[in-house]
Point group: D2
Chain length 357, copies 4
């Protein structure tokens, strides 16, 4: 396969760096453009980015010159790791200029004609692309908030098998979710912060869109209620979620366990490079999953589930763990792009360089 040339918007930030790390080893994609703010433009990426990962900055990108994130860059499509404060304007600009935008930002997630996408959960929602009209071939596809991803994946098999009515979730979220510099160490070390701005709202509304049905080209949101309480804890990577669910019928612990073990991904046959063999890893040891030990499993794309047990208030409670910067951000967006290619939405782009110049 001829590799796709991709641009990364917001390439120097925390999410942008994760995009770079994942794309560097990707069989289908090739980083063609690293774009960031005017301040970084013109500098080598290795200098402009304060590389925070524990793997080395890929040699192939360290010397690439960062360009300003404006339409006109030469690539087949863009990944956006832009901050929400600028993503609204810039992503629209790119879409209008004809670029497919695979975004991790929150700005367009809840817009009716924009897919909010997790390939294993709602691959058919990409059909919304067809109702977008940017006056060009461009469009926007988004992935959910990092903590939403864990919850929504965990709900999918339960909803399919039993129907879900009520959901209580309390998160313990990693520091990397706040970007860099993010949380001050005096707030983080040996502490819990019981508040993450905007997070609970996202967790209460995004899952219903993700788990909604596509009817006549629109998403009919699923109708369950979610109550979320979000906490920041001193963990590097991996959001833990304590979840309790009330089902539409009579459902027990064994039913839930079987639902996870028996889950068939609707995209299993596509063989997408970033898709884990199994979406769920189910633990029997009551001490597991744990972020330090298990967040990296399945290259950070698996959702780990454990401690499935009866709930005295709703029906069943359990714990889920998701890698927030991989499955919950850059890795999820890359998988979205893979799905779009499989479905024919992403193609090599003929850029009329002259016209853009």
């Amino acid at each position: 396969m001829h590799r796709f040339k991709v641009g990364v918007l917001g390439a120097t930030g925390a999410v942008g760096q994760k995009f770079v790390e994942i794309l560097d080893a990707h069989p289908w994609f090739e980083i063609a453009v690293l774009a960031a703010s005017e301040r970084s433009a013109g500098r080598p990426y290795g200098e402009a980015a304060n590389w925070i990962g524990s793997k080395p900055i890929p040699r192939t990108v360290a010397d690439m010159q960062v360009v300003e994130a404006t339409p006109g860059i030469d690539c087949d499509f863009v990944f956006s790791g832009l901050d929400a404060s600028v993503a609204g304007q810039l992503e629209a600009d790119f879409a209008r200029a004809g670029y497919p935008v695979i975004s991790n930002a929150r700005n367009f997630r809840m817009q009716d004609d924009v897919p909010l996408l997790i390939p294993e959960i709602n691959p058919d929602h990409t059909a919304l692309i067809e109702s977008q009209d940017w006056g060009s071939n461009g469009y926007i596809v988004t992935n959910p908030n990092c903590s939403t991803v864990g919850l929504t994946c965990a709900l999918r098999p339960l909803m399919d098998a039993f129907g879900v009515e009520l959901v209580q979730v309390v998160t313990m979220q990693a520091l990397s979710g706040a970007g860099y510099p993010g949380v001050a160490s005096l707030d983080a070390l040996a502490n819990v912060v019981p508040y993450i701005g905007g997070e609970e709202e996202k967790m209460s509304t995004e899952p219903q869109k993700l788990l909604g049905r596509l009817v006549d080209g629109r998403v009919e949101a699923a109708s369950f209620q979610v109550s979320a309480q979000c906490n920041r804890v001193p963990v590097l990577d991996g959001h833990m979620e304590c979840i309790s669910v009330k089902f539409r019928g009579d459902v027990g612990v064994e039913d839930v366990r079987r639902a996870y073990l028996g889950f068939r991904s609707p995209i299993a046959s596509y063989q997408l490079p970033s898709a884990p063999k199994k979406l769920f890893q189910v633990f029997e040891d009551p001490r597991f999953p744990q972020p330090r030990r298990h967040a990296e499993h399945g290259n950070g794309m698996v959702v780990s589930v454990g401690r499935i047990r009866p709930c005295e208030v709703l029906d069943v409670k359990f714990v889920a763990l998701v890698h927030n910067t991989v499955r919950g951000a850059a890795g999820g967006a890359v998988l979205n792009a893979e799905l779009l290619i499989e479905q024919g939405y992403l193609k090599h782009r003929k850029v009329d360089a002259a016209a853009l110049a």
Copy 2:
């Protein structure tokens, strides 16, 4: 007032050390005996105890010789910081030998004739002492599990004002709750362990006894349901609890806030030295409370409440913070003893040393 001579059982352990720290500065009590296992007996306390606190070991006790924890020690009553593996036998032995035993261990908590006591919550439950029969003047009084304390205190004003039907609680508990050496650092650092053996069971059953009514000399347990999910997080002191409550009637956020602000402690008039002026500290800043910042407030005896807001699934949700080794353990037991003195249950004891010898 003539000071009471107290013995501390399990004095070298983590809870025992907190007893020593609190008692050292106490106006009513004087440490007469430091008792521990045979292994520590005969050694100076400063040597036998691997002092883990951040305040210096009190000079007055550093050189005291540790004795074996067996009845016969010369004191008015004993505090027990014994491990559950030995507390069942030893506390019964002390009670039979005529000692009042103010215990932090779990062994007798749910026994019908043993008070499970938080002075601000159920001071009248001490009446159960009268139905105990150890063939002596001895008796046992217990305080609840550390995480139960935070939850139960938080529920009291709500139950009084509105009635409580369902409770969801997810805890993020400090490392000090596991004693010393407790949790291995490779399990604790930058990690969350979603399991604490026995903790969820305690949180699901102890609150109903604590909030039960005393009827004809017995406690009629309150009838609400509690679902608990308990996690260990890398925090030194202070258990955080995300709580969601369904009430018996129509109750809103402002009602709950007023219930905390207006709470009148039933023991306010007693002026007990360890009782905080106000049991509750209510935060409006959504980032608060936090364990590192607020666990020590009110000398660790205050319960902090914050983020009171509507719950999409039950009625109202909020966060509570309790200092697990003070209010949730040694400090709570000391306050229990103060209440027992005020109520006339604890008296200076005439020990017939000859008879015991």
Copy 3:
């Protein structure tokens, strides 16, 4: 004694908050003015300061209105917790306006006529005040960098007893030393940063001034060499220092231990409220001192020493621990002010309010 009215410059910052905490309970001082940048001016202190301490913000100051830090404020003298970026200008302005300035900032530390002061180490250096000429009664006195304090205190008894020739020091410094927000949590958690800007230079030059002799109204710097390597580690409070010393003569481990145990503070007879009974606490247990356990000892004003043993390269090596925000910053400055009062340099000030207006 009539209490001194003090102003705190930079009151909302991390050091300023520590000043407020210490001064609130101080027998000689009364906070008259809380001064900060224009941005905070006019707001209640409790709102303007993002209080980071684990003790509650003192009630008496929470509602005080912050004023802009400019000469004209009504107080006997000022403590400066200003950031170095503004301290140079502002402290000079206050000195010119006639205020004694007791500063924690680095700007004037190495100026010839400014005392760099640790009361137990070089109390006579206050005589430098007399050579300052700000065209007013004002003057500036400084305390050293937080890590310098631990090292210099540790060297004083050794220099007095044996003479010091060479010093190697490697620090492991707490996060609170970087202020707030300071170090990003992704840099701090489970990590070591082997660099603290400017710190090694301060540690290599300040001790020689502190341990210098006052000759003809000037300080003759001591002549030993210091090599410092400074690291940031994930600790909340307390700087650890691994120190190795070469002496002028033949000195052994026992000599060093005796030097610490026998150290007589030159200000012992003054009974200053913030001075610890003994400057040094010497540990025999090889695991000690440790920041979490021992930094708070002596209200954070004691210097802890341990692991005294022979050095295979220089003569003797050992570990020292100092509380960086107390003895190493605000507490040290408060003790400086106490010394200045004792020596007659600080007096109640007649402010001609009209003239200043």
Copy 4:
């Protein structure tokens, strides 16, 4: 190449687990036997080992049955991750029974006829094997203490180029170096422990043997002095070392940098699978190296060096970082085995099973 069948002694412990992780992906080796104490024998490895790594336990070993660590197991040679308390006896037993023992334990390191080996540093020291006489074909080869490895690698180019006279080293060591459960979390979190039993002695004596010359079949220890101060810090993996060196001649910062950049590994031509392309990674950014960011570089086999600068007391100082459980333990031992194969010391073994039975 026909793969070697290897046995892992102490397979369930922390070092044993790292052996298993590294060997699972190894091109030359195949885990034939997992041996541990009697207590674990007979259980599946996945159950017997409390797997602490962040990568999943390899599927191929999870179901292997653990056997007791006694001679008779069927393999070409053994890796020993045994605890020092049993390694002395057991490793000798295996050597006598004819097994090559590639050990990470400390017991035989300083024995005259046992190679203490880092392939890039002293590959010729394997010649010592020839003077071992266990009455069989067996022998023992050891790798150094984890913190010694970083120091010794860092010294090799300097010794070759300039000669080394004096070395000061202060370590900040990761928790994983203490095994599991190892350090209690209440000692580790937000703390520094300035003592690691036996560590300073190893760092003061092992480097001289490692850097010694082989003369007439014996190692003549190098003659420089090392003074070590060892600290435990709350880091997961990666030992940081602050090193200061006095050379035999006049040596500056640039000379040292060039020595690292120009270092040629004596085993470069062997193409051993675990050997990094370059032993040293040299950082110019003063904030680097850091354990969280850089310990995993080069699959944990690279030694990172940074902050090379003049020392005011000796000549030059700098920081080195080594992955303690990979390069400093299991990875180092695996590289030792690779070298022994290349040199012809390790061969496929004909085990006379009947004779052993």
